[in-house]
Amino acid sequence: MSLITENLVVLNLDSPDRHAATRVLAQALADEGRVTDLDGFLADVRKREEQMPTGLPGGIGIPHARSAHVTEPTLAFGRAPQGIDWGAEDGPATLIFLIAAPEGGGDDHLKILAALARRLMRTEFRESLMNAPDATTVVDVVTREVVNP
């Protein structure tokens, strides 16, 4: 199964805050069957978020959790042109990556998420996601860069 599908891409995320934005992306995960218990998963993400907000410099938010309610490692991607405060010092986040990892995931699966995390540090990767015209392009970019590098 794929790390990301077109249904897991939200190009116009206009939620008022990060918790609402996370819920929108998590709902997409639940709709795709990647998350079995939406509220349980959100509670896990929130717990991580409360330890330390996951906003990063450069307009990125990476809410994430290892959760028993996740069936397989999955990425939901959201783009918020107006920006959503994610706790980063340099301003709101415009690229949101909700990373869902199963509790006892095998090594191979987790390696894909590790590769994804590394790509997030590359400017070209961020830019091509920022400029992607549609969901298909986003899925293509992620698949090309992360899944089949």
């Binding site: 987790l110 390696k111 590790a114």
Partner: protein, 409 residues
Amino acid sequence: MKFVGVTSCPTGIAHTYMAAEGLEQAARAAGHEIEVETQGSAGLEPISPETIAAADAVIFAVGVPVRDRGRFAGKPLVEADVKKAISDGPGLIAQAVAAVEEAQANPEAFAESQAAKPAGSRGGGLVSKVDSSAPVGTRIRQWLMTGVSYMIPFVAAGGILIALGFMVAQLAGGKEGAIVVTKLYALTGPPDPNPTHIINIVTDFNPADGMHWAALLFLVGAASFSFLVPILSGFIAFAIADRPGLAPGIVGGFIASTIGAGFLGGIATGLIGGFVALWISRWKVPKGVRGVMPVVVIPLLSVLITGAALILILGRPLKALTDGLASWLHGLSGANLIVLGSHPRPDDGLRHGWAGQQDRLHVRHNRPGRRGHRDREHQPQGHGRRHGSRNDAATGTGAGHHGPAPAVQ
């Protein structure tokens, strides 16, 4: 320059790897080399000791404590939150470069700052071979190997000294020298001023007598051997429970050694001591008691439980098993006993050939390692018994007759 780094974060799926990427990009951009160990959830690939040894400095960008931190000791260190490596990798690399230059410019101050750190974070701290994420079978092997690795120096020192002792004894005392050296000399005086053949080489050492030199070598080697089981047991427990395991493991191992349960007993007490100490150290106790846990409660209870378990429950079956194995091996070849080690019996291979000699001298079939060299072997049986019982009453130790202090053997 060459750097090594460790990144980690609470969840272990995102920041860890972003931070590693941040450090690698920044190092490359500045013309340095770096290898980063990502202590995340996607499998741990430890940096090789050679790479660490070759590194100029260490960078920790972590959200949770570094695993096996001792590996990186003794190098200039830059430590920061994991987010710092993501937001400002170049800044961390620059700090590392500065730390290296500072250490080079002022090596004495650097050495002092290293020495001031607590023992656990330095290279000299005790380490175990245990990877806590390994499967159970692997961990059992790692516990045992930790014990063995700490025991090896005692084996080496003791074995070579005893061998040298025999060699010198044969040169100085002729054919019987190797037997005599195990029987006639001790580190403590004879228990009674009555005429005796036991020579206390502490008070009566004669540099002109070759046999005294042989006895010196033999007795120091035997002392080293008497630590084999306690150290094996202690460091098995240490591998399981860390520092709290040492006391129950070593004491349990000493009892195992004393009652003749040998290495099997030592392995048992190592495992018991380790798990008891681990279990007690995980008790949830009120804040006021927490301070005395490592000082009083854990040692007291873990030593008592381990010792009692061996004496009351496991001691007899383990001794029987050890004796059974020992006599079986004895049937194969007398010299191999030490491998199973019911106890160090360096003279074992020679004993049978000298049985007649021993009987003539009224020597009981003592195991010198177990009963100690102050035993009254060269006296008539009756005297030996009388002295033995008096000695027990005088010392009044629980280990009693069969448990001389380890330093003696």
